[in-house]
């Protein structure tokens, strides 16, 4: 009994921390990718270093995500099966926000595969798919805030805030710098990058930033052995 509690807690700790690190790495990947596309030059550092860094950090993020997903699935409290890793629907544990996270992971795999096979695709196809990275990043943030039991802590909110600022600033620089004169595209990009972070902050303040958020979710599983194990999230949120 004691061991199983310890076990679930360890799994949950690893899931949470690897999730945070994965988000930080994804943020770095996005910022590096955007600035590489902008041909940003920092002092005398060759630009190719940033391109290499973009690749390696993206792969590192995938490793962290593998750990994140593994520990989440193995955690007996969440009652997730192995299909959870790829199938975004029909979860018992926080279905919506978990589904968003799984969707982000699936899209990330699509980007990984198309990037590895880039020389077999049209450059424009690859590039269009690569634009999904922004969606993936937003999904990752929403998944983290929505699923995480830490979301109301100031350290967690600080991490999300830093990530949001970093991505928003680099995207704004990219739009300001862009040669695209298609006014509609420019305008919608501006509108989106102003509106989306605003919505995200509003939603965070109204939901995940409140300590009651993590208490609202109780998995609808009636198996007795699950009941006997106190969930780490309940323990944190309650008592």
């Amino acid at each position: 009994m004691m061991l199983s509690i310890l076990g679930t807690q360890i799994m949950w700790y690893v899931t949470r921390s690897s999730g945070f690190i994965a988000l930080l790495l994804l943020t770095m990947t996005v910022v590096l990718g955007v600035s590489s596309a902008q041909k940003v030059k920092v002092g005398k550092i060759p630009r190719v270093y940033f391109a290499e860094l973009h690749r390696s950090i993206a792969l590192f993020a995938l490793v962290l995500l593998a750990i994140h997903i593994f520990t989440a699935v193995v955690d007996p409290f969440t009652k997730l099966g192995w299909t959870t890793a790829f199938d975004p629907f029909g979860r018992t544990y926080r279905p919506l926000y978990l589904g968003i996270g799984v969707t982000a992971f699936d899209l990330l795999l699509a980007i990984l595969v198309t990037s590895l096979l880039r020389d077999r695709l049209k450059q424009r196809t690859w590039k269009k798919l690569h634009f999904l990275s922004y969606v993936i990043w937003v999904f990752a943030v929403v998944h983290g805030l929505g699923t995480g039991t830490d979301s109301h802590y100031s350290f967690a909110l600080a991490i999300y805030g830093v990530c949001l600022l970093a991505v928003v600033i680099s995207v704004w620089v990219r739009i300001l710098d862009s040669e695209t004169k298609t006014s509609l595209l420019r305008f919608s990009a501006y509108a989106l990058t102003l509106f989306a972070p605003f919505l995200l902050v509003l939603w965070t303040l109204s939901g995940p930033a409140k300590s009651s958020w993590s208490k609202r979710f109780v998995p609808n599983v009636s198996s007795s052995h699950v009941k006997s194990v106190t969930s780490p999230s309940e323990r944190e949120a309650g008592e």
Binding site: S36, K39, R47, V48, A51
Partner: protein, 81 residues
Amino acid sequence: MVSKELGRGALRFEHQLVIDPTVCDGYGYCVELLPSNLIFDDWGYPIIKERYVDDEHLELAYRAVKLCPKLAFRVNKIRGR
């Protein structure tokens, strides 16, 4: 440059750089990786100084193929003279 002599009758290969100038956007990764073969022009686009890649620079050349954002940079492997 012609690869090392391997003995009589052995196949020799040369590795030749090819840049598609209509696709190149001047990211400059290839020039930064292969300064022995490429130089920048005044607008930051690559100019091929030496078309044949030494064996010691081959890995860097394939790195540049992988990293070129526009897929404008290639290495062709051809039968040696």
